[in-house]
């Protein structure tokens, strides 16, 4: 079931064909694809996502959701398009990696809610597991006031941003320089110890002084662990879910997750009610 929250002043969704203007490898199985699409770039905000579809094919049939990595600007400093960073995991991303510069993709967005303002919290920690790092570059820039998004005034929203980024091994760490040059303090963790702390990124987080606000994105077990850390630290925590989606716009009811309500729980559509939720409101399995 659902409650439509359409009074949030979000901008209208656009569907466009967008040309690939850059496509580079960032890490093992990880690529950044740059799409020229000024209309979308002007309105999208950190935390929001787009659906991407390979045109002219019926298999894969459906679009796939991808977070905004960042906007890119033209010579005048105006938003010209968006960057998406993706990990090759299956059917669509396996074909996407071979799409050449000057070919086109179909894109629709901006979708979902942006990251909420940390409301005065001056010490913010972002926690990423694997490809869950993608929403955080633009988020860092918005938090530190180094780039404006969606026509919002550019202002520093917080003093300190730490990024805790966990990967399986060093070869999968993507975009670390991007995060550092955007002004975040980056703390790395890897399962095999090949880069940064050996072990889970949530353990690394917990070994440091508590921040005032947590944001997380990554596989569900990691987010669940993060929700527990947030509880122990007694700090607000927002997580961005990577639930599979068929439409991204709220019309298919595929992407539901269980959200606590006054009288128990209810399924909510991640694409329109999320993808960002307060971690204490989710029913973790």
């Amino acid at each position: 079931m659902s409650n439509l929250d359409l009074s949030s002043g979000k901008s209208a969704t656009l569907q466009r064909t967008a040309q690939v203007v850059e496509h580079v490898r960032m890490a093992r199985d990880t690529y950044r694809i740059r799409l020229e699409q000024p209309d979308l770039a002007r309105v999208i905000r950190p935390g929001q996502f787009v659906m991407l579809r390979l045109p002219g094919r019926l298999d894969p049939l459906l679009g796939r959701p991808f977070a905004l990595y960042d906007t890119f600007l033209d010579a005048q400093g105006e938003p010209a398009g968006i960057d998406v960073v993706y990990l090759v995991v299956g059917k669509m991303t396996g074909i996407l990696k071979d799409v050449a510069v000057s070919q086109s993709l179909v894109v629709w967005g901006p979708l979902g809610h942006p990251f909420p303002d940390p409301a005065g919290d001056q010490d913010v920690a972002l926690v990423a597991g694997g490809i869950g790092q993608t929403p955080f570059l633009a988020h860092i820039r918005e938090l530190l006031g180094t780039r404006g998004y969606g026509g919002q005034p550019v202002r520093r929203r917080t003093r300190r941003v730490r990024l805790y980024y966990g990967v399986r091994d060093a070869e999968l760490a993507a975009g670390v320089k991007d995060f550092e040059s955007a002004g975040a303090e980056v703390h790395l963790a890897s399962n095999d110890g090949s880069i940064g702390h050996r072990g889970f990124v949530t353990e690394l987080l917990e070994s440091h002084p508590a921040p005032q606000h947590l944001f997380g994105c990554g596989p569900e077990p990691m987010l669940h662990a993060l929700a527990k850390v947030a509880e122990r630290m007694r700090v607000p925590c927002h997580v961005s879910l990577e639930t599979p989606m068929a439409c991204g716009v709220g019309i298919c009811f595929s992407c539901v997750t269980r959200v606590k309500t006054d009288d128990g729980w209810d399924y909510r559509r991640v694409c329109v009610d999320g993808p960002i939720f307060e971690s204490r409101k989710l029913c973790w399995e």
Binding site: L4, Q15, L58, G63, W108, V249, F253, Y267
Partner: protein
């Protein structure tokens, strides 16, 4: 060019509609689709009581299609009338309510209530949802289909569309029963029951095990259903199944549908329905037609 069409007592500005369960409650599509271009909108099926729906995963992509087992996730009829209908009735196109009852009595009670509220152009009966555990698939039995349709007609003055399941040996007698019961048109078809398996884990992929197949993969099957009913039953048809471009629309019209509903394609091409309405006049002209009715059911041979 006259794009208007007639389905029994229902008159629509053009034959391009969007299918129930694939267009939300319309509001989600604001900005993507100019509703004024559509012949009509069918919002998601409403049930008497709220239903949480099935556990995820609820959909899985298959070759040129998808399986869904949403399980009629909705907030119930009263919520629909109070929270969705006020918006829907402001739209510049026909809105066709879609209901599913668990029992015949529930169908009639819902139809009566819906009929008393203003703002709907017609009522589509979802006699065919395959995902409601414990629910009855009404449209597998001609006698039941006729009784439900006739019962609804007696208590509700709106034009009635009977949406049928293709999961039957022969859809013709069911469509005939809907016609006999007084339906203004039949909507053909709902999804085909199927399943997807993860062989490595020896598990079904959908939380509900089985689901309804939709999308381009089912178009040939849906076309045949439309064609057979058009040849054998005197009732207007709304063709549904895999429609993804203007050629598909024309194929359904030629096969015998007076109108079509776009379903799964709304998911992977959200602006499509408006585009199809723009493209229809040129396609009709290619056949030298000036009215939609000129080509309906004109398959040669």
């Amino acid at each position: 060019m006259d794009l208007s069409i007639t389905l029994g007592r229902l008159k629509l500005g053009n034959p391009i509609l969007v299918a129930s369960g694939t267009f939300g409650y319309a509001r989600e599509m604001e900005g993507l689709v100019d509703f004024a271009k559509l012949g009509g909108i069918v919002p998601k099926t409403v049930t008497q009581a709220p239903r949480a729906g099935n556990p995820p995963p609820r959909t899985v992509e298959t070759a040129a299609g998808m399986l869904n087992a949403i399980g009629l996730d909705n907030d119930g009829l009263d919520h629909f009338l109070k929270h969705y209908l006020p918006y829907l009735r402001t739209l510049p196109t026909a809105v066709i309510g879609n209901i599913a009852g668990k029992t015949e009595a529930e169908f009639l009670a819902m139809a009566e209530k819906v009929g008393r509220s203003t703002g709907l152009a017609a009522l589509e009966l979802n006699l065919s949802c395959p995902n409601v555990s414990g629910g009855v698939d009404f449209a597998i039995d001609p006698a039941v289909t006729k009784r439900v349709v006739a019962g609804v007609r007696a208590v509700c003055s709106l034009p009635i569309l009977a949406k049928l399941t293709p999961n039957v040996t022969d859809i013709v007698p069911i469509a005939q029963a809907a016609a006999d019961g007084g339906a203004d048109a039949v909507s053909l078809v709902n999804t085909f029951v199927g399943m997807a398996i993860d062989w490595k884990r020896r598990k079904p992929i959908l939380g509900n095990v089985t689901g309804g197949l939709s999308g381009p993969a089912i178009k040939p099957l849906a076309l045949r259903a439309v064609w057979r009913v058009a040849r054998n039953v005197k009732i207007p048809i709304i063709g549904i199944g895999g429609i993804s471009n203007i050629d598909d629309v024309m194929e359904f019209l030629i096969a015998g549908a007076s109108a079509v509903q776009v379903g799964t394609a709304n998911f992977f091409n959200p602006t499509l329905s408006g585009t199809l309405a723009d493209q229809l006049p040129a396609a009709l002209l290619q056949l030298g037609a000036t009215r939609v009715a000129d080509i309906v059911g004109t398959l040669a041979g």
